[in-house]
């Protein structure tokens, strides 16, 4: 099953002729994911690795049934590309672009929200569903199986790079992932942790979810509330990086833009306490992810000393 993307996804890449987009297209096709069309204004009629390119998304939609888009355009044009996708009936949008101005981000996220479109990102490395071999974005690079194999664990990461590392740890524990989602390191993103947990709740393949978090925002607090309300009932395993930042003077930013600590708001220790209180498994040490997953998914084996 997985969430967000599957074999039925009809994928278009906006900005497909760019250097990075073209490389990602190649890797994605090699993985077995079907890409239906690409869009780059002024390059209609060309092909990128055999994928037809159109001048506008409207033109692409006239020839194909499209519902999923990856936006590979520079920050200055990202919001307009999202607006184009929303206007043309796309239902799932991935924005890998970093450094989208805040003013543009709030505008295009509002447009998507009103149209009922699910946005992942900005600043997301991608989404992957290894069971169906469908991926959006650079996630997995050209060696996807190293980190991403099919299995019962959902992964949500605020760090792009750690989406791969967490999924690799899941594999090392003896499992695989239903879907791994890099939600983006920015403060303003389309889908937060609490937006994705209900999707994993409804997905029969997913038996547990791992989240990788950082300081700043109130995403973890909201996720904890969701658990308390009974809207997410599967085991949730959380690691919150950046505890050392709490000892630093206020206003220091380490890592991503979202990692801003202001007063008590966004502190990793408070996020951890909140999640724990709601019943989540909060990891003190990242390495504990492996035994914790084994205990959560195969308690009888762990007790018998037969953990995979």
């Amino acid at each position: 099953m997985a969430i967000l993307i599957n074999r039925q996804s009809q994928i278009v890449i906006q900005g497909i002729t760019g250097r990075e987009a073209s490389m990602v297209t190649k890797h994605t096709l090699a993985y077995g994911t079907q890409i239906v069309a690409g869009v780059t204004p002024g390059k209609g009629g060309q092909e990128v690795h055999g994928i037809p390119v159109y001048d506008t998304l409207k033109a692409a939609c006239a020839h194909h049934q499209l519902d999923t888009s990856v936006i590979y355009v520079p920050p200055a044009f990202a919001a307009d590309a999202v607006a184009e996708a929303v206007a043309n009936g796309i239902k799932i949008i991935l924005i890998p672009t970093e450094n989208v101005p805040q003013k543009d981000a709030v505008r295009c996220l509002a447009q998507a929200r009103r149209a009922g479109v699910q946005v992942i990102g900005p600043n997301s490395v991608g989404i992957i569903n290894p069971t169906d071999r469908v991926k959006l974005g650079a996630i997995g690079g050209d060696n996807v199986e190293r980190c991403f194999v099919p299995g019962p664990v959902g992964v949500i990461s605020r760090s792009g790079g750690m989406t791969a590392e967490v999924s690799w740890m899941v594999k090392r524990a003896g499992y695989g992932v239903s879907t791994s989602v890099s939600i983006g390191g920015d403060a303003l993103i389309g889908s937060t942790i609490k937006d994705l947990l209900p999707l994993f709740e409804a997905d029969p393949q997913t038996r547990a979810v791992v989240i990788f978090s950082e300081p700043g925002t109130s995403q973890e607090e909201e996720a904890a509330d969701l658990i308390k309300q009974g809207r997410f009932t599967k085991p949730l395993v959380a690691y919150i990086a950046g505890r050392f930042t709490e000892a630093m003077p206020e206003g220091t930013v380490f890592g991503h833009a979202a990692a801003i600590i202001s007063g008590n708001y966004g502190r990793p220790s408070l996020k951890a306490a909140y999640l724990k209180e709601a019943g989540a498994y909060v990891l003190e040490n990242f390495a504990d992810l492996i035994p914790t997953l084994q205990q959560v998914l195969d308690p009888q084996h762990v007790v018998a000393g037969l953990a995979r």
């Binding site: 920050p75 450094n99 989208v100 101005p101 805040q102 003013k103 981000a105 709030v106 505008r107 996220l109 509002a110 447009q111 929200r113 490395v125 650079a138 996630i139 997995g140 690079g141 060696n143 190293r146 980190c147 990461s157 605020r158 760090s159 792009g160 790079g161 750690m162 791969a164 590392e165 690799w168 740890m169 090392r172 390191g185 403060a187 303003l188 990788f212 950082e214 300081p215 925002t217 109130s218 909201e222 690691y239 990086a241 950046g242 050392f244 930042t245 630093m248 003077p249 206003g251 220091t252 930013v253 380490f254 890592g255 991503h256 979202a258 990692a259 003190e284 040490n285 990242f286 390495a287």
Partner: protein, 402 residues
Amino acid sequence: MGRLLEHHAKQLLKGEGIAVPLCQVAASEAEAFEIAQKMGKPVVVKALVPVGKRGKAGAIRFGQNPEEAAMITRELLGASVRNFPVEKVLIEEKLDIQQELYLSITYDKNKKAPVIIASMKGGVDVEELSRSYPEEILVREVDPLAELPDYVTKEIWAELGAKGKLLVAAAGVLAKLYRAFQRYDAYLIEINPLAITSDGKVVAAAAVMSIDDSAMYRQPGLMDMVQLGSERAWRPLTELEKRMVEVNEADPYRGTARYTEMPEGDIGFMCGGGGGSLLCFDTLTALGGQPANYSEVGGNPTEEKVFGLTKGILAKAGVKSLFVCHNITNNTQVDVLARGIIRALQELQVDPASFPVVVREAGVNDAAAREIFTAAGVEYYGDEVTMTEACTRMMARMQKIA
């Protein structure tokens, strides 16, 4: 986010039609005296530093006459406010204030929209205000896809209890402030206090403004005003940090290399990406280690950038080792990292036999990276160990040289 100094913020607000006090920058006692004399009235002397809560830090003071203004200026210049040395002060006319309001605009990350925060009780800091009088603060979300209608600016102040001319004047300021917020790609504008003077004017007596770094490409007029990333620091950049900014900016489109100096520490720290470096720092700290710096490198940087950053990390006094660890990379070529690091070690004649260098780099081209690191005598790991295990190896090496 890049913060503006107060005189720049006020210049922009004035351009938008918002009244601000007469003000002028002084870099010396003599200049302060002259400006105060010309104003011919009591003045406020404010340290021009990019930090908040200056009042509490004693960096905003009143001078009754030019002599006092000069004396305060002498005391402020050369002093430091929250670690920032005061190089200039702002001399402002002292307003005859009858009432103080509060007004700010910023982004609410949960609502994903701009929000206006207003109160009839200005002059105290807003955290304190929200603690003591939460009912006195009005927070209004603005539709990001629409303009701010004038009637809403009036509704906001009316709900707070403003009446008559004050209501109309304060609403006018809010409309202009929202235009400035949009026009300049601001991330935050705060006016506190928004002063009502005895002659009935509404004046932005103090202003804080910061600009969205990501939008600077379309704000060329602000280029000389904004210190990029200035809100990230709790003190001015050190010499080493400035050099590392140069290393990073030399090739701004190929990867990032950030460097923050820690007050102490002995482990040279070069990790990534954003989340991975936080994880490594936490893990080393939990194991009793003390990184000498925080560095985040990623996004497939050039060999030159890695070379420059490695040299910088090792340049800090007291560094006894180097720890290099990333999450398994999606696109960063780890053989390029290897070449940059080894070139720096060789140039600095660092011998990995006596100066521990522990590396965990897996991902794109890691077979080549393994060869390069191993040939140079570095303790190298790929994806046969976890990031946590690599931290443990680093600490074991530290114990041997202790």
